[in-house]
Structures are given as C-alpha cells and as structure tokens.
Amino acid sequence: MSQRKRASNTQSSQNKGVRSQRWEAVLGDDEDDPSFTQPSTSQVQKGLDRLTPAQVDLKTAEVVQFIFVKDQKKFPIRRADIVKHVVKEYRNIYPEIIKRVGCVFETVFGLKLVEIDSKNHVYILINKLEQLEGESLNMSPSNPKTGLLFVILSIVFMKGGVVKESMVWNTLKKLRVDQGERHEIFGDVKKVVTDEFVRQRYLEYVRIPHTEPLEFEFRWGQRADMEVSKVKLLEFIGQLHEQDPQSWTQQYREATAPPAAPAVVTSANTSASVSQR
C-alpha cells in the first residue's frame, strides 16, 4: 500500500527526497505521542525485511538532519517528535534507525546521541571531541555565553557541586554581570542563566525545600557533566590563581574520578523489547 508507493518514490528520487515537509510545523514543542511503544526485536526484524537498504539509509539520513536542526538551540530532542515528524510509518523499525543514527553521529561527526531521560525518551547531542582552549581556528566569534556559563560551572564545581543562587549572582556582579540590569551582550541575564542554560541541560536550577522566601540552588546539568572536562576546568582555575590544580585536593579527586557511563544510544539498549523498559 503506502509502503510500496514510497518504495518507488525513493528509488527514483534518491538524491532529492530527503525532506519535503515544512520545518516550521516541526519546530514547535509537541505533546508526547502516547501511541508509540518501542517495538520488539522480532518486530524490528520483520520491518527491516520488508524494506530496501536504500529506504532505511534515506530514513536514517532524514533523522540525522532533523536532529541537527533541532539541536541548533541545544534543547533536548524528544523521541516523540522524531517519530511523528520524520520516522512516521517506519516507526516499527525505530530502534534500528536510531541505532544507525547514533552510529553516524559518532563515526562521522564525533558527536554522541545520548538519551538523558529514559522515561520520557529525550535525547541530547553532545560533542565527543575535546574543546580546545583558545581554539581560534574555530573561527566563528566564540559565543560570549560560553564564557558566562564556564564561570558559573566553575563556581559550582569549586564549591563542591552545589551552590546557592545568591552566591552565583554575587560573584557575577563582581564581573559586572547583574541579573537586575539588562546586559549589553547577554540581555536578560537571569533568563539566560535560569532558563536557557537549564533547558540546554548545562545547569540545574533547583528549589531548596523549606526556604522562606523561596531560594534556589545551582548544580551542573547532564550536558555539562558529559561535555565539560573538569580537569581542564581545574587547570584553567589553577592558571587564574597561579596555583597547582592539585592544591584543591577534593576537586582534583573529583575531576580525575572515572566518569559514570551515560546512556549512550547503542545496539544493546535499542533492541530491548517493551517489557524490559
């Protein structure tokens, strides 16, 4: 039926047919699609048998493009959106597609597709290549927000991983970044720090219970945990204070501790059947 029709379309328009849908519709936040349940391994195999390799490759390419677009703002990407807007009728082989997509990101782009929320099925795309300091060959004017973020991450890290909101603002104020005033580069600083950085999963902004008036604290977000090298951060702070990074023994220990394994999209966890989740 519709699959056979799609087969002939793809054969003839191999190089053109990656995307014809309008993207604006796709960029809005959708509700979770309740009808999508992870197909079983045998269902996936049956689905694959019915399709040509070219069709699967094409769909993989579409998902890769989609994720790149969605990742532009660094907000997490929902599985529901991937299925609804791109995978569509190929949803019965979703685990295979997402596995290949993960593979492409790693082997071609040096990026990692990580499921940061296995309950709500949300992904982020992180950089596996080391971000070199003073990478002027990056050529584009470095995003000033990165500097701001780095300062906040440093404060949190040096203070043991958790810091009261007020401490962060006080420190930033000394750097002439005031949450109360509109900053000429960052604009609404409070929004950037407590909303944008949090949505991007660089920071966590958590309510401290039983506080009156309401107080919040900052922690590192999942993306920061995965992307930011604590060792490099400590080295940077060491340079700033002209001290050996190892002089901060606790932080140094934490920075050099082996990392916890993130939920990377691999073949092992994508072919799991529904009942195992």
Binding site: K16, V18, R19, V69, V108, F109, L129, L137
Partner: protein, 274 residues
C-alpha cells in the same frame, strides 16, 4: 572506498559545520591544525584527499564539502553544502514563509540584473507586495541583516548579491528554476551573476569578473574566446589576498603565475558599462 574517519577529520567537519564556508587559506590552516591536534599524518598538499575521505562518509547523509569560487574575489572557498534540498526550503527552519518569499524575490532580482545585485530599494518594493504576508520596512531590513549574517547574501553600499555559499549550495536549484534565464560563465561553466558580457549581439557570452581577470591577464589585445571580437570591458587585476608569511607561496600557486612584486591595490575593479 570509504575509510573510517579519524578525529582529525571529525574536527575539520565540526569546524565546517560551525562556519558553513571558509576560504582556502583557512582550510589549509585548519587541515594542519586538525592533523597536528590528533597526531594524524599531515602533508600540506593532501587537503583534497583529506576532504574526500570526509565526503565519502557524508554522502549517505546528503552532505558534501565542496569547493567553489567567489564571484567577489575569485578565491577558492570550501563550503559544507546540503545536497538533499533542491529548494530554498532548506532555510525554512530559520525563516518564516514571508521572509522566504522575500528571499526568493531578491534572488529573482539578482538573477535578472546585469550586475548580479539587487538594490535595497527594489527589495523594499518587493516586501510591499508579498503574497504571503507583507513586510514593513524595518522588518525587511531586519530580515536582510539576518540573511547577511547567516551568509546567504552579501551587502555592499546598500546593494545585495548572493553569497558564495548561497551560490554553491543552491546552484542546482538556481539552474533548474531559472533555466536559460541564468547566466553561465564561459570559462568555468558555473552560474555567473557578477560577470562581464561580450558585446557582440550574436555572441553574448558571459565571463565571471574574476575569471576575466585571470583569462585576460597580461593581454594587451583581449579578444572574446568565443567570437574573437574585441573585449571592450575593463580587465580587472587578479585579486591577491593580503599575504601572511606562510601563505604567500600557496596563495601565489592558487591564483595565477606569481608576480615579482605583490600588487598593492588588490581588489578587482568593477566594470564600467557604457
């Protein structure tokens, strides 16, 4: 045969993704930087092969790193282009429907023009008669700024032209959409928007301004390569970028035979039409 990518390749690719387009000198520097960072074998003349390895992996994703020439300075650039989109819709993630319509109309004006540019006045007039939703003057200026920032258009003295990246990315689309209407360079066979034209009415071939500079360099009696009529337009100088110490050699190799002394006024001059 597709070779697996090393970290040096991935770093190069990531930088291409961030920048969209880079000039030849930066591409060479980036090649070196990526290889040195990851301890990969580096040979200064192997950039093309290095990129081919990446392209083999990019092909299933309908992406390629392509080489192209800028119509402004005649220099070679590398751009990461999306092969899948044959339409302006690849920009539709960043622009609203009416903004895309404005871009299409700007492209119409540019392709139609003699000199490959569209004035802001003409574009503003288009903004007023959009079918989707009209754009006010301020909004139009804002959209044009974004288009320049996103490297789809170039702006100079209130005139807009298609950027090198835009032409490279949309060449197929432009040819398909405009067919015979679009000018093609007789020398390099690519789409030619900023170009000179043979004045012989039975000939009328077009040549990119920088291609003119190169083809007619040093000739006292320039003749049309197709009909041999006298070529009446001003032959610009070949553009030489301000050379750094390490780049002088490769820059010379890239453009033309090396001249004994570097020219000081390096910009190609615009043709004066009668």
């Amino acid at each position: 045969m597709s070779r697996p990518l090393g970290e040096s390749h991935k770093r190069f690719l990531q930088t291409m993704m961030v920048n969209g387009i880079i000039d030849g000198a930066k591409a060479r520097a980036l090649h070196r930087h990526c290889c040195e960072t990851h301890g990969a074998h580096y040979a200064h003349d192997k950039l093309d092969e290095f990129i081919e390895v990446i392209n083999a992996q990019l092909q299933p994703m309908f992406m390629q790193i392509r080489k192209g020439m800028s119509e402004e300075d005649g220099l070679q650039y590398h751009a990461l282009v999306n092969m899948a989109e044959t339409d302006v819709t690849r920009m539709s993630t960043d622009y609203a429907d009416n903004e895309l319509e404005l871009f299409r109309k700007t492209m119409d004006l540019i392709v139609d023009s003699d000199n490959g540019t569209a004035s802001s006045t003409d574009i503003l007039n288009c903004a007023d008669s959009l079918q989707t939703k009209k754009l006010k003057k301020r909004e139009t200026e804002h959209v044009l700024n974004r288009l320049v920032q996103d490297k789809w258009l170039n702006e100079k003295n209130g005139d807009y032209s298609l950027s090198t990246r835009c032409i490279m990315e949309m060449e197929q689309y432009i040819r398909m959409l405009y067919q015979d209407q679009v000018k093609v360079c007789h020398i390099c066979h690519n789409v030619a928007l900023q170009c000179q034209m043979c004045e012989n009415p039975t000939c009328g071939i077009k040549i990119h301004t920088p291609c003119v500079a190169r083809y007619f360099k040093g000739r006292t009696d320039p003749r049309c390569p197709a009909c041999e009529d006298f070529w009446p337009h001003e032959i610009p100088d070949v553009y030489r970028p301000p050379s750094s110490q390490s780049e002088t050699q490769s820059a010379a190799k890239e453009n033309t035979a090396p001249t004994p002394t570097p020219r000081s006024t390096a910009q190609t001059r615009r043709t004066r039409r009668s």
